[in-house]
């Protein structure tokens, strides 16, 4: 198959090359148009800055604004397998889609609110372990000790592996017959666990995987925050006779807040929207292990309910938007940016 490999490489490079060529030609034509319109017709003194900004603006419009607008439009259609090409676009259909999300099962049995509750549970469990685990490890690493660099490297390791690869490796370890975890359980005289088909254990398996993946990020962020706290604060506290707990509570935590706030917001959004872990670990499509985004994916691409799914996606976006606003307001976490 060596000749095929060479052909595949050449073919792939040709496809990439033609794509780059099209983009390159497109940019040139676009720049010429901008130059002629702004520079020659309107004689604008900002012609050059606009020309420099134009490709990025077009890129953003194509990659962000257009898909968002398409999504909103799709939410007001009945597009599905039955109406794949001949779908209707109407306000009534949009309202129907949004109503269906809250009144009918999103997939087979599960309705929206139980699904939302599970997603919140999933997010809370993961975030508690991410932040507490990251904090403990960061505190442990934030002191002089032999081999600190090695520990740090090892602890960051899960973050360095592409998520999908790590999740697939974990899924292998949860295999009933050949997985490392069950093999170890049997070695110590325990019963193997049905990680893949038992609803409780499948959800647990997804949590374990995501906790393992998420701790390094929090650890690095918190470690950065800890290292930015001046040592003088702790020296002064020690002179005043403050205990370790008092130092942690009165110096470390408040000083970490500006760093923890965006990290927790990001962590929440990433976990809430985490697709790879719950989807890949839930190999047999147990509805009991689905969270909002995996249910959304299944509704769109397995059940082909495109209009409904677009509305569903907007609801998820709205939930995260409200969460972020509330969290920022309650914690005052990004006050420092404005003050």
């Amino acid at each position: 198959m060596s000749s095929l490999t060479a052909r595949v490489i050449t073919g792939s490079l040709s496809q990439i090359g033609s794509m780059i060529l099209y983009i390159f030609l497109g940019i040139i034509i676009f720049e010429v148009v901008v130059y002629l319109v702004l520079g020659k017709i309107f004689k604008s003194k900002y012609t050059i800055p606009y020309m420099l900004l134009a490709p990025a603006a077009v890129g953003l419009a194509l990659l962000v604004i257009y898909p968002m607008a398409y999504e909103v439009r799709l939410a007001f259609t009945n597009m599905s397998l039955r109406y794949f090409r001949n779908y209707n676009l109407s306000l009534v259909q949009g309202l129907k889609n949004f109503t269906l999300i809250f009144t009918e099962p999103v997939l087979k049995q599960l309705k929206f609110f139980p699904l939302l509750s599970r997603t919140i549970l999933w997010t809370v469990i993961n975030l508690i372990f991410h932040v507490s685990g990251g904090l403990v490890l960061a505190i442990l690493l934030n002191r002089h000790m032999r081999g600190r660099g090695i520990y740090r490297t090892l602890l960051v390791f899960p973050w360095a592996i592409p998520q999908i690869v790590a999740v697939l490796a974990w899924r292998g370890e949860f295999h009933f017959e050949y997985g490392f975890i069950n093999v170890m359980l049997q070695r110590i005289g325990l019963q193997p666990i049905q990680w893949m088909i038992d609803p409780f254990w499948n959800f647990t398996a997804a949590c374990i995987t995501n906790i393992w993946l998420g701790i390094p990020f929090m650890m690095i962020i918190i470690l950065g925050g800890l290292q930015s706290i001046p040592a003088e604060f702790y020296d002064a506290a020690e002179i005043d006779g403050a205990s370790n707990w008092q130092q942690f509570n009165s110096i470390t935590l408040p000083m970490l807040r500006p760093i923890l706030t965006p990290a927790v917001i990001l962590g929440t959004i990433w976990t809430f929207n985490n697709f790879n872990v719950p989807y890949m670990i839930n190999r047999y499509e147990l509805e009991t292990s689905d969270i909002l985004v995996t249910a959304l994916f299944r509704a769109a691409f397995e059940y082909n309910r495109y209009g409904f799914s677009a509305a569903f996606a907007l609801v998820i976006l709205f939930i995260l938007f409200i969460f972020t606003l509330t969290y920022i307001r309650v914690t005052g976490g990004i006050k420092g940016v404005y003050e």
Binding site: G11, S14, I16, S18, F84, K108, Q109, F176, I197
Partner: protein
């Protein structure tokens, strides 16, 4: 460094320019095949391209049939589908409903193919695929080193099974995660997934409850199957000689022949004693399907490629390599097929099978049966409750299709 990168970029762009201006016809073929059949796919593509230098066939392997279905719909929606599909017949239902494939009537001489294979892709009075192989059905495969004769009925299966299952070895393995493996037993208990109209689900029936109870007994009472077993685990256990019997499809015959050789036996899935009926696996086949709007040079190239793959020579090659029943009438009458004990066993199972429904509603049945079968096999639901949920799930799914 900058110069090197610039030169590389220009080279890649030049390659792109050459490909844009090239007069070659490029066909993209998505296949559902894996392992040995995929190797055969590759060799066919290679051979065809050598003989037809003006055509390039880009073979893309999809992880499984479900991924192929989902990706094809998504690609069609995006306006960039592949040109050809090598897939199973039940995809015809959703693809025809979504209007993403074209009928093949008038493009090929369909009289040369086995009628039952063609009927499996007939919808709205038209044919939507060209059959490559006939069958795609489940059967009982056994390792003659571990068991001299396949059990005739379920009582015998349980009796032999209890003797064979010990210390990490199992009597029988099958993919416990897919309802495709439940269907033969449901047929054995004389149940069907649809009512007479062919679209109303009939999943909450005494026959379905009996089938689920039977699967539960097989796992928890007789304990002749592993506690958890997906396709790969079943396949590995059988190939490693840790399972005496496996229920698997005709697509796996070539692989097992390679591992077990003459020790591989093929038989019908044991008769259900409670009803006296043979289990009825779904029968269908593997098909070429044409993406919507294929025309001009591409259509001509696709016709040539399909003609090449479905020539008698290549159909016989498929029999030799993969032990699949050919869809071409001439090839089916070849002594290689009629005198092959493995294929004889396979066709013996096929005659008691039942054609797999291609209607869109079948998708809802599959999706509804899967989690409930798993729930019974993890003892988290009773067969009665599982059957009830299957029915309501299927009904709500069908409602959502509207």
């Amino acid at each position: 460094m900058k110069k090197v990168l610039t030169v590389l970029l220009v080279l890649v762009m030049l390659m792109g320019l050459v490909s844009i201006t090239s007069a070659k016809v490029n066909l993209v073929l998505w296949t559902k095949e894996g392992e040995e059949p995929l190797e055969w796919n590759k060799s066919l593509v290679e051979e065809f391209m050598k003989a037809n230098p003006e055509v390039t066939v880009e073979l893309v392997k999809k992880i499984d049939v479900e991924v192929l279905r989902e990706d094809f719909l998504t690609a069609s929606l995006a306006g960039a589908p592949p040109d050809l599909l090598w897939t199973v017949n039940d995809h015809a239902g959703p693809f025809v409903t979504a209007d993403v494939i074209d009928p093949v009537d008038g493009l090929f001489d369909l009289d040369i193919y086995v009628e039952s294979a063609l009927e499996a892709v007939k919808l709205e009075g038209k044919y939507w695929g060209i059959p490559i192989s006939n069958g795609n059905h489940l059967m009982l495969l056994y390792n003659k080193k571990l068991i001299s004769k396949a059990p005739e009925d379920t009582d015998e299966l349980f009796t032999i099974g209890k003797k064979l299952t010990q210390e990490g070895n199992y009597a029988l393995v099958w993919n416990q995660t897919e309802p495709f493996w439940l269907v033969p037993w449901l047929g054995g208990f004389e149940g069907k997934v649809f009512a007479e109209d062919g679209v109303t689900p009939t999943l909450n029936t005494p026959e379905m409850v009996a089938t689920l109870k039977f699967l539960y007994d097989m796992k928890f009472d007789a304990k002749i199957i592993p506690p958890e077993c997906d396709y790969d685990a079943a396949d590995t256990l059988f190939k490693e000689g840790k399972a005496a019997m496996i229920i698997n499809g005709d697509w796996s015959l070539g692989g097992y022949m390679g591992v077990l050789g003459q020790d591989l036996g093929v038989a019908r899935i044991p008769k259900v004693v409670a009803t006296g009926t043979w289990p009825k696996p779904y029968t269908s086949g593997v098909y070429f399907m044409l993406a919507k709007g294929l025309s001009g040079d591409k259509l001509k190239a696709a016709q040539d490629f399909i003609g090449f793959v479905l020539s008698e020579e290549k159909q016989i090659e498929m029999v030799k390599l993969l032990n699949r029943l050919p869809a071409l009438k001439e090839a089916l009458e070849d002594p290689l097929v009629t005198e092959n004990p493995i294929l004889k066993g396979s066709s013996d199972q096929m005659v008691v099978g039942t054609p797999m429904p291609t209607v869109l509603e079948m998708r809802c049945n599959w999706d509804s049966m899967k989690p409930e079968m798993l729930a019974v096999l993890t003892a988290t639901k009773t067969p009665e409750d599982a059957a009830k949920t299957m029915q309501t799930s299927a009904e709500s799914c069908i409602k959502a299709l509207e």
